[in-house]
């Protein structure tokens, strides 16, 4: 297993390298540049040239890229011109916020999705199954900005139960409870789609597993129905569900942009959108590297869990 993990981690390097090269090229070639973003209407050629010189953007593309790469190797991701701070600080801060949100959403999505999928499979074609199916379809077809605002209007504005937005209370905030409090709505919104996908998959995996011979064996030895469903069937179904949770983790990480916007969550998705808008190339590079690495790591984690769960795969 350690060798497997190490191998997969090494495979991450070419992915990140390729990604940074493509990102760099696209950022360099699309219209608009940092000077434009800074100067807005005042982007005269002299002004643009001056800013490009200040930001080191007047050098040739290979030189810019290699300089950046050289710095990255030494752990220096450069400085964001649009936020006037080191890229690493910003990226880590934003990424941890996203990780909290995505992690909470993923846990929620997994719990809800698994439960819904199990109920749906166990009561196949029953009322519960139909209700779950309907809820899941609503979940995966609902635009998240819509759901997010709906939840805000109900829970925060109408009933004043939960905060509207942000990560901590503005005044006298901080601490875990405050964080959880602010997390409920965005995490729920973000979890809905993933929960739907997980529920659908869990349902079909459970149905598949419940037809297997070893489930019959469990019944034949007198295991209670709860044991059959949770100990036997669910465990086997998880082998198919886990990698999908891994993929969903990637989506939840990258797809949180809308939710981060609606709930003003200081996450990395929103940061990337803004950084792309202002053509803040170093910030984009830093953000992409972290997001891509975490995406690959989540998938690796899912694969490791799958391997732990299913001893046959590693053999």
């Amino acid at each position: 297993m350690p060798a497997y993990v190490l191998g997969r981690l090494l495979a991450l390097l070419p992915v990140l390298f390729g990604l940074s090269l493509i990102v760099f090229l696209i950022m360099a070639l699309i219209p608009g540049d940092p000077a434009q973003a800074i100067l807005g209407s005042y982007a005269t050629p002299e002004n643009v040239a001056r800013i490009n010189r200040d930001l080191g953007l007047d050098r040739s593309l290979p030189v810019q890229y290699l300089t950046w790469l050289g710095n990255v190797v030494t752990g220096d991701l450069g400085r964001s011109y649009s936020l006037n701070r080191p890229v690493l600080d910003e990226v880590l801060e934003r990424f941890s916020a996203t990780l909290i949100l995505a992690g909470a959403a993923l846990v929620l999505a997994s719990v809800l999705g698994l439960l819904a999928g199990i109920v749906s499979a166990v009561y196949q074609y029953g009322l519960a199954d139909k209700l779950v199916t309907f809820a899941v379809l609503i979940g995966i077809s609902l635009p998240s900005f819509w759901l997010g605002l709906l939840l805000i209007l109900l829970f925060a504005v109408r009933w004043r139960l939960l905060p509207v937005s942000g990560m901590y209370a503005i005044y006298g905030g901080g601490g875990l409870v405050d964080l959880l409090w602010h997390l409920i709505l965005p995490a729920t919104t973000l979890a809905v789609v993933a929960a739907g996908v997980i529920a659908r998959l869990t349902r079909s995996a459970m149905l598949e597993v419940l037809r297997q011979d070893f489930v019959r064996t469990a019944r034949a030895k007198g295991v209670s129905e709860r044991g059959v469903v949770f100990r036997h069937a669910l465990k086997a179904a998880m082998v198919t569900v886990i990698p999908v949770i891994g993929i969903q983790a990637g989506f939840v990480l990258g797809g949180a942009v809308y939710i981060e916007t609606v709930f003003q969550w200081p996450g990395i998705g929103r940061m990337l959108v803004d950084a792309i808008g202002t053509r803040d190339i170093l910030l984009v590079q830093g953000g992409v590297l972290v997001v891509a690495a975490s995406y690959v790591l989540f998938n690796l984690l899912a694969d490791v869990v799958q391997r732990l769960l299913d001893p046959r795969i590693a053999a």
């Binding site: 992915v15 950022m27 196949q124 077809s141 297997q212 011979d213 007198g222 990637g250 809308y258 992409v288």
Partner: protein, 582 residues
């Protein structure tokens, strides 16, 4: 063509899928008829009449922020969005599936390279991609399509790759290669048709996303250009007035929901309709115990007084799409304590169904017990409440199944599986249970019981696995073991060992044994009596040697004649005029 008709028939039998199809057909009909419908001009602005609520005069669904008729925009917008969604899904399907097929089928370095490429694509910030597309191709909905396609390629690639990799080692692929097909042809003609269901399902689930995703790109100029409506841009426009005029977003949102829902229902239906396992029977998940539908419960006769198990007139049927097929048509059996009854028959004879029906383990649906009595001592198992049934199963009545690789839980250590069997019936602490497993493993002559307890089924040999199954059956000192082809998957030398073990355990523990097999030699070696099954009925029953040497029924005679016997095996090559062709 016949296949296609059958496919649609099956699809429509699924009520949910039929409903989805109906909704989608309705949407398509309206959308296609848009030019001839009496709709307002979708682009005519009238800011003075902006944000009218639904059911306003002259605007059934209200108006948007520029006073345009939402109904007209909805119809025309759906027309465009559906076209884009379908086109994008198909394009992504073609490209992604190609990558997936190649990666899965070729494997090795190609697989690694392609999948790392897919990883890169998935981790790539999609806005940047969209901006690059605007830069090269300019704004517009069509160009949004490319961005959406690229983003969705990984789905198809990943899903298809998994299936294709599974197909790579299938025998029909090898057979096709031996028939002279090259790799490209094998991919297209042999592998692709088998991957199609996955592609179809993925397409049906992505179309809705595609429509939603184009909404997400419109702020980059990647969307329909004003004044043209599409569902995505309508959602985006609705977002701005969400608080004071929620209907502007709700109207297109509802339609997206309908499209996504119908696509998914159809997708599920398609998956079921093309699943060969579900072709004959109604799809269903097996319940706890076989359903019993006895029209008349036979009057309580005393039965065979000395019998442990007494089966009278057992009938088992399977529900199929076209009616109910009787698989077991009135079987009578009796097993005395300590006796070994063999049941022999060919596939389809109903022998395994009979064995499973005894403890109501026939999967239901589609199985139904339609008549008879199964008396275990005093209890009629067909009327037993779930609690009693559960206590008997694995308690006094234990099962050993054919293939221990599939009948043992693949992800649980075998020791734990036996412990579970013990703890399902006895309150035993973990330590005591472990000691008991150790004892049982020794009894079934498994070497190094401690090591084997820690092993997973796949780490054991076939013989070892079957010994574990037998140990599991013995866990609660049963009175009756029902063994369904327990040695069929084993090599002859291993089979001999298992048969010896069963015979010995029977003697030691005064176990009654119901032994199902297709092999006369095996039955002869272990059983006292044998019942010969054919076509769901017992055609002959009696002491093993009597039946073997003086078969009374013609089927029994034919069956015995067909078995090659070492030393005079070539006899079976002489044509028997009595025999019906296969």
């Amino acid at each position: 063509m016949k296949a296609a008709r059958g496919f649609f028939a099956r699809l429509l039998r699924n009520r949910m899928a039929a409903a989805g199809l109906l909704v989608l057909a309705l949407i398509l009909a309206v959308v296609l008829a848009a030019p001839i419908l009496p709709l307002a001009d979708p682009d005519a602005t009238d800011p003075a009449r902006r944000l009218l609520p639904p059911f306003s005069e002259g605007a059934w669904l209200g108006t948007d922020a520029l006073g345009r008729d939402l109904l007209a925009r909805l119809v025309w917008g759906s027309r465009l969005s559906l076209a884009v969604g379908v086109a994008a899904s198909l394009l992504a399907a073609v490209l992604g599936s190609t990558v997936g097929l190649l990666a899965g089928y070729l494997g090795g370095w190609t697989d690694t390279l392609l999948m790392r490429g897919i990883d890169t694509l998935m981790a790539f910030p999609y806005l940047l991609l969209a901006l690059a597309i605007v830069a090269v191709l300019g704004p517009g909905l069509l160009n949004a399509l490319y961005a959406v396609v690229v983003v969705n390629i990984p789905f198809f690639a990943r899903n298809v790759r998994g299936v294709a990799a599974g197909l790579r080692h299938r025998e029909f692929v090898d057979a096709a290669r031996l028939s002279g097909m090259g790799s490209a042809r094998i991919l297209l003609q042999e592998v692709l048709p088998n991957v199609m269901p996955v592609i179809v399902i993925t397409v049906s689930t992505t179309i809705g996303w595609m429509i939603l995703e184009t909404a997400g790109l419109s702020f980059l100029g990647l969307g329909s250009q004003p004044p043209q409506a599409d569902l995505g841009s309508m959602l985006g426009e609705g977002r701005k007035v969400l608080i004071n005029a929620p209907h502007v977003a709700a109207v297109p949102g509802l339609l997206v929901f309908l499209i996504v829902m119908s696509m998914n229902l159809i997708g599920d239906g398609v998956r079921d309709a093309i699943d060969p396992r579900l072709r004959t029977g109604l799809p269903g998940k097996p319940g706890t115990a076989t359903r019993v539908e006895r029209p008349d419960v036979p009057a309580g006769h005393d039965g065979d007084a000395g019998a442990l198990l007494d089966v009278r007139n057992l009938k088992v049927a399977f529900d199929t799409g076209s009616g109910r097929n009787l698989a077991v048509q009135g079987v009578d059996l009796a097993v005395a304590p300590g006796e070994c009854l063999g049941i022999i028959g060919e596939s389809g004879s109903g022998k395994s169904v009979t064995a499973l029906a005894l403890a109501r383990l026939v999967p239901s649906p589609p199985g139904v017990i339609t008549g008879g009595v199964v008396r275990f001592e005093k209890d009629d198992l067909l009327a037993a409440p779930p609690g009693l049934l559960r206590r008997l199963r694995g308690g006094r009545i234990a099962y050993v199944f054919q293939d221990p690789l599939t009948t043992l839980h693949p992800l649980m250590r075998v020791g734990d599986q036996v412990i579970e069997a013990i703890q399902a019936h006895q309150r035993q602490a973990a330590g005591a249970a472990r000691a008991r497993v150790h004892e049982l493993f020794a009894a079934v002559r498994l070497p190094e019981p401690d090591r084997i307890m820690q092993a997973y089924p796949h780490e054991l040999s076939g013989g070892q696995r079957q010994r574990v199954s037998i140990a599991m059956a013995l866990a609660n000192d049963p009175d009756l073991i029902i063994a369904d082809e327990p040695t069929t998957a084993l090599d002859v030398t291993v089979q001999a060992g298992i048969l010896d073990l069963l015979a010995e355990l029977r003697r030691q523990r005064r176990l009654a044994l119901v032994f199902i097999s297709h092999d006369f030699g095996v039955i002869a070696r272990i059983c006292d009596r044998v019942a010969v099954m054919h076509g769901g009925e017992i055609v002959e029953t009696g002491p093993v040697l009597d039946v073997l040497h003086r078969p009374r029924h013609s089927y029994t005679r034919r069956l015995i004649a067909a078995v090659p016997v070492l030393g005079r095996a070539k006899e079976i090559l002489r044509t028997d005029p009595l025999e019906a062709p296969a």
